[in-house]
């Protein structure tokens, strides 16, 4: 579970986060929906302790990230945007490396890596250097890195950006699997359909604050609109920065 309480963060002249509070529960997929510049990435970076909030705190499974960063991060898997692959490592080395950084022993990390490679059907590219990978292959590798150590919480920053249709479908299936296994999945997105199709809970953000929280259907009802898209525009007052 990821819980964010009263987060505020100012970056330069911009109030990136403004008293932001929400929680993402285990066994659910939570979507963080907002237009570009709404503060989604800042929020996620704060969850990972990379940015220090001016106010408020983030807790991972009840552990304050600012106070016990290592313990808290152990419970997190990050699917970053951009992926941040090491181009000269193979997926196997890459995944195994991060597994070890999360405290797995060398042999455990190997096993975990093998199983995640199998799970994500990465075997055919697992021992090639990442250089020259397609976007889909990169996505899978980054995702494998995020889940190899089986964290309770998986955070994805704009996971479908730049992915083709096939890869997007694969990603959705995996996220659903994770949810079914009881993981807490939190992802940010500005793509309406994706959120509508996947999420149990949608957190709509604008200008650093939560505008609305609920299931996609719930949000439609709340705004009295037929589609989530309309509901969303209603909620944030504009359609700027939102993709259908």
């Amino acid at each position: 579970m990821i819980q964010v309480s009263n987060l505020s963060k100012r970056i330069g002249d911009v109030q990136a986060l403004n008293d932001l509070s929400f929680s993402a529960l285990d066994g659910q997929i939570t979507g963080l929906l907002g237009p570009n510049g709404a503060g989604k990435t800042t929020c996620l970076r704060t969850v990972f302790g990379l940015l220090k909030p001016d106010n408020g705190f983030a807790e991972i499974d009840g552990i304050n990230i600012a106070k016990s960063p290592v313990a808290a991060k152990q419970q997190l898997g990050l699917f970053p945007d951009p992926f941040g692959l090491y181009e000269r490592l193979t997926p196997r080395e890459y995944i195994s490396y991060f597994a070890e950084l999360n405290g797995l022993s060398r042999s455990d990390a190997k096993h975990a890596t093998s199983s995640v490679i199998e799970k994500l059907h990465l075997a055919d590219i697992a021992d090639r250097q990442c250089k020259g990978f397609s976007q889909g292959q990169r996505m899978k590798t980054a995702l494998a890195q995020a889940i190899v150590h089986q964290p309770t919480n998986i955070v994805l920053d704009e996971p479908t950006r730049g992915l083709d249709v096939m890869s997007t479908r694969v990603l959705r299936d995996i996220l659903r699997d994770l949810k079914n296994q009881g993981h807490c999945v939190l992802f940010s997105s500005h793509v309406m359909q994706e959120v509508a199709a996947l999420c149990d809970q949608v957190i709509v953000m604008a200008e650093g604050r939560v505008v609305a929280v609920g299931s996609p259907d719930g949000l439609c009802q709340q705004t009295g609109k037929a589609s989530l898209e309309d509901a969303f525009i209603q909620l944030i007052g504009t359609d700027e920065g939102i993709a259908a």
């Binding site: 990379l50 960063p69 992926f83 950084l101 999360n102 250097q129």
Partner: protein
């Protein structure tokens, strides 16, 4: 060292080893620098040991044919005789030797016959030739002086009231000190050059490729990250140093040092000593380069910063090997180690105290830089370039 640190070091090394640029940087230097030095020494030795004929202008050579013949037998000739050297242009030095009109008559009377040497002594290129000419003229004069005394029934040894015996405690190795000082400088510089590309790649490069943020999102402390990167870069520097030493060992053995009257041998004892003394320098080089690279916004920017920053150890090294260093330099990194190494090469006792202090100072600077880096990795500005 924790498992995570070891894991990170291993990853850094695998990553670096596959990076052609990082590897080649070290390799080019390790092979190139000693070979370039060798080439330079070859030229130097060639110049010193087989002095070409020195062509000068002699005014009134017919006034002193024996002197002119003597000089010519010592390779100093009147340059105007182009016809004797077919095709090739004779390089006549800008030195004029004027034999006075009354040379022969003064000589015949037993009084000093005048010879005037006209040259620009501030002209570096001429100095060697001027000295050579002067030396030969003095020898000629001394020989004639002795024979004049004999002709007068006097033992010429009376002109040498003092017989100076010199007992030079230099060994053939120590005579090589100056030359090896320069060579040692290029060797120690290997730790800077060999690790440089890796240092940039693993810091500024890592951030540029967005993997730094990912790494920081994982449960590792910033000090673990800093240490692993320092170790990796240090190792690269040391490998570069070792390679440079090995290449030097072979390359230098082909240089005909003996023609300069001394020997230069890069033996295993020297290599061992160099590696030992070079380690703190390599650590400092790694810290310095990582620190500067982390401050830079991009790979390119880091490169240009480092080019400037690396002037500093270069200058310290030069100061040490040319022995123009003020006293304080012996305590500083690079120059301190170099001075100790030069002493070692000269076969003197290793200045333990000086070496220990300069090494400690080197390590202290490294620690400060590492601490600064560790702090900077916690800074949002540095990590995200905000």
């Amino acid at each position: 060292m924790s498992n995570k640190t070891i894991t990170m070091i291993r990853k850094e090394l695998i990553d670096a080893a596959r990076d052609k640029r990082s590897v080649m940087a070290g390799l080019y230097y390790a092979v190139g620098a000693p070979l370039l030095m060798c080439g330079m020494f070859f030229m130097l030795i060639g110049q010193l040991t087989s002095p070409e004929d020195l062509n000068i202008n002699i005014n009134n050579p017919q006034g002193a044919p024996d002197l002119v013949k003597y000089l010519s037998s010592k390779g100093i000739t009147h340059g105007k005789n182009e016809d004797q050297v077919e095709g090739e242009k004779v390089d006549t030095k800008d030195i004029l030797l004027i034999i006075s009109d009354d040379y022969a008559s003064n000589m015949a009377k037993g009084i000093s016959a005048e010879v005037t040497l006209v040259a620009d002594a501030s002209n570096e290129k001429l100095q060697k030739s001027i000295r050579r000419l002067e030396k030969r003229l003095q020898q000629y004069s001394a020989e004639m002086g002795s024979l004049r005394l004999i002709a007068r029934g006097i033992d010429p040894r009376v002109m040498q009231p003092i017989k100076l015996n010199v007992e030079d405690q230099a060994t053939p190795d120590s005579k090589a000190g100056m030359i090896l000082g320069i060579a040692t400088m290029t060797m120690i510089y290997a730790v800077f050059i060999s690790g440089m590309n890796l240092a940039i790649d693993t810091s500024a490069g890592e951030r540029e490729r967005n993997s730094l943020a990912l790494l920081l999102s994982h449960p590792v402390s910033t000090s673990q990250i800093v240490i692993s990167k320092i170790v990796a870069v240090t190792l690269f520097g040391m490998i570069g140093l070792l390679l440079t030493l090995i290449v030097s060992k072979f390359a230098y053995s082909f240089v005909p040092w003996q023609e300069l009257g001394f020997s230069v041998s890069v033996n295993s004892r020297f290599i061992g000593m160099m590696m030992l003394i070079g380690l703190p320098v390599a650590i400092m080089a790694a810290c310095l380069q990582l620190f500067v690279s982390f401050l830079a916004k991009s790979f390119k920017e880091a490169q240009s910063y480092l080019t400037i920053v690396l002037m500093l150890p270069m200058m310290l090294a030069m100061a040490a090997s040319y022995d123009i260093a003020p006293e304080t330099l012996q305590w500083l990194p690079v120059s301190g180690q170099l001075q100790a190494l030069i002493e070692f090469i000269k076969g003197r006792e290793l200045p333990g105290m000086q070496l220990a202090i300069s090494s400690l100072i080197t390590l202290a600077i490294s620690a400060a830089l590492a601490f600064g880096m560790q702090k900077s990795l916690k800074s949002e500005k540095i990590v995200f370039g905000l």
